[in-house]
């Protein structure tokens, strides 16, 4: 990097064209930035970009557990994809993933928006208390929160079981085994994910809400708009870009949720909570049909590409100076 000194140091000699207007950033073809970028570039290319291509290649092979030791595998064309698309388990998993993602995203965005709105109506002290509570939930590592969840929903001793038994509405739920019933397993995982997703959404939206000029709300009220009208006509348009952003991020994250499902229900009972990520993992690393797992991952990635593209385009448009 020491090689690039020359062009930038002002040389007080005749051949130097009269004092240049200082550029904000140097446009000279200096190799310095490339040297600086190289280490990161190599790591990212080798560990994230290349594997994506390798993933696609693997999905066209019959890579299996044996291959890990012998290195022998065959290119089988599209047959992994054909197998998957003919497999009802796969389709069940796709439907499950879409529905579950929708449920989680709607739940966390709606509750997150409500909490953000609530925060604008609180005094400083109360708002501080809520913020701290939210940050605690957000900060918990997902492995720890999953363990806590299993304990909260433990048959026989779980607090939630006890709590639901008290009003005598749901009957005696003391021994309900949440992980062993598809609907209940979903419900408890949904609660876990929404609980941990709301803090980010609420705090981000709250930050956006505080940016809305106060006069606009007042003007709308003076014009006689009710609370709901004010929200629809003034708050929502201001909030929309941020709302879109957190929604897209939530979809991407929730689509790929793994730890919580794996640790709370292992994708069970009987595969009932195996979303695409868990399903691909089980095929690739439990049954060790690596080629097939790769094909499922490719399909998952393709399903997400559209959303990711919208998200990246939005970011680029949002005026971030690239």
């Amino acid at each position: 990097m020491t090689t690039s000194t020359a062009p930038n140091v002002p040389i007080p000699e005749a051949q130097q064209p009269a004092p240049q207007r200082p550029n904000r950033q140097r446009k000279l073809a200096s190799p310095a930035p490339w040297f600086l970028l190289a280490p990161s570039g190599i790591v990212l290319l080798a560990v994230t970009v290349a594997p994506i291509f390798f993933l696609v290649y693997t999905s066209f092979t019959d890579y299996s557990q044996r291959t890990l030791f012998t290195g022998v595998y065959h290119v089988v064309g599209l047959s992994q994809y054909a197998d998957i698309l003919a497999d009802p388990d796969f389709w069940a998993s796709v439907v499950r993933t879409l529905l579950f993602t929708a449920a989680m995203v709607i739940g966390s965005v709606v509750i997150g928006t409500a909490v953000a709105q609530l925060m604008t109506r609180l005094g400083t002290a109360m708002r501080y208390v809520v913020t701290i509570a939210l940050i605690f939930a957000w900060a918990m590592p997902t492995v720890a929160s999953s363990m806590v969840w299993k304990w909260l929903f433990q048959p026989g001793y779980g607090v939630v079981n006890w709590l639901l038994t008290q009003p005598r509405v749901f009957g005696d739920m003391t021994n309900t085994d949440w992980a062993n019933n598809a609907a209940l397993a979903y419900l408890s995982i949904w609660l876990l994910i929404v609980w941990q997703a709301v803090p980010f959404i609420a705090l981000t939206l709250y930050a956006a809400l505080t940016q809305i000029p106060h006069e606009l709300h007042e003007a709308a009220r003076i014009d006689g708009a009710g609370e709901w009208r004010v929200w629809r006509a003034v708050t929502l348009p201001f909030l929309a870009p941020t709302l879109l952003l957190v929604t897209i991020l939530s979809v991407i994250w929730d689509f790929n949720v793994f730890n919580q499902i794996w640790l709370v229900s292992q994708g069970g009972p009987d595969g009932a909570t195996s979303t695409l990520g868990v399903y691909a993992y089980k095929v690739a690393f439990v049954s060790f049909k690596v080629g097939q797992g790769a094909a499922i991952s490719v399909i998952t990635t393709i399903l997400l590409i559209g959303l990711t593209a919208i998200y990246v385009r939005n970011l680029i448009r949002s005026g971030e100076d690239l």
Partner: protein, 291 residues
């Protein structure tokens, strides 16, 4: 608030309604706080309760006695020390490399203008959004064939790649705020590019370095999936796998110990998280964190 204009005569009503709404908001806020804090409280509560008070049919919300037995059990029962050592090695490696590489790249993307810069910026964003679970399979195969599977280096490499885009993005934000004049005056004084970087720019982005270090720490410390899949042996696992291993599928999980382990594992994360929370809110929306 619809009454706002008909003010003078209705004033008392308005004040009343506003007060009632304020009251309602506060009640709701208390509910939100309790719901969001309860699981955390319950973890801590269980961790400090003696076993007979943990396994009760009616939960004991306010423990009568405090004990550290659960913590003792948690850190002696399994391979805690080995796994802690593994975690510390992997986390430090991730920190070191992601900071150094990130600093260089961020400097390049903020203090220089060159062809292809925009392309690289967008590329970094896209790379960041690739689903981790999809990368797991090919990474596993490649690491297997070049002997990185089950090694610290393999895990460090995977984590560095995962946090690097965010590190670059955040540190670039800090670089941009440094006025060009600072850099120019150093050059006038005869500093070369390397000196400008190491003596002037890097010290000025120190806050960014701290924020990204904490982020890298949290990501590497928390990861369960990659460590669990790549390390495949008790003596090589990191702490998240240790924490998950308390679960006994046959029943009879020692929940007191498991909650104590959860507290031990979460504590550093929560502390660091508090420190960079603000940065995360803006950083995540700027696009760079995997959830």
């Amino acid at each position: 608030m619809t009454t706002a204009l008909r003010a003078p005569t209705r004033a008392p009503v308005k004040v009343n309604r506003r007060r009632r709404r304020k009251w309602g908001s506060n009640v709701l806020a208390v509910v939100v706080t309790v719901v969001w804090l309860f699981p955390v409280y319950w973890m801590i509560n269980t961790a400090f309760k003696p076993r007979p008070e943990v396994m009760t049919s009616t939960p004991i919300f306010f423990p009568k006695s405090l004990t550290f037995t659960n913590f003792a059990t948690a850190i002696t029962q399994t391979s805690f020390l080995t796994n802690l050592k593994n975690s510390l090695i992997v986390v430090s490696g991730t920190l070191l490399f992601s900071i150094v590489l990130g600093l260089f790249a961020a400097a390049a993307l903020s203090r220089f203008r060159f062809n292809g810069r925009r392309f690289i910026m967008v590329g970094i964003l896209v790379v960041q959004m690739l689903p981790g679970t999809a990368l797991l399979i090919p990474m596993f195969l490649v690491f297997n064939s070049i002997g990185l599977l089950g090694t610290y280096w393999g895990l460090i490499l995977a984590y560095v790649a995962a946090v690097l885009p965010f590190s670059i993005w955040v540190m670039r934000g800090f670089f941009i705020t440094i006025p060009v004049a600072v850099e120019e005056s150093a050059r006038v004084d005869g500093a070369n590019t390397w000196q400008v970087l190491t003596r002037i720019l890097f010290p000025l982005v120190a806050p960014g370095v701290i924020a990204t270090s904490i982020f890298a720490f949290i990501s590497a410390w928390n990861d369960y999936l990659v460590a669990y899949t790549f390390m495949k042996s008790q003596s090589r696992y990191t702490l998240p796998v240790w924490l998950a291993s308390f679960t006994n599928p046959q029943g009879g999980t020692d929940f007191g110990a498991q909650m104590a382990a959860s507290v031990v594992f979460s504590l550093p994360v929560v502390v660091f998280f508090m420190l960079i929370q603000r940065k995360l809110v803006t950083g995540m929306s700027a696009g760079a964190v995997k959830g």
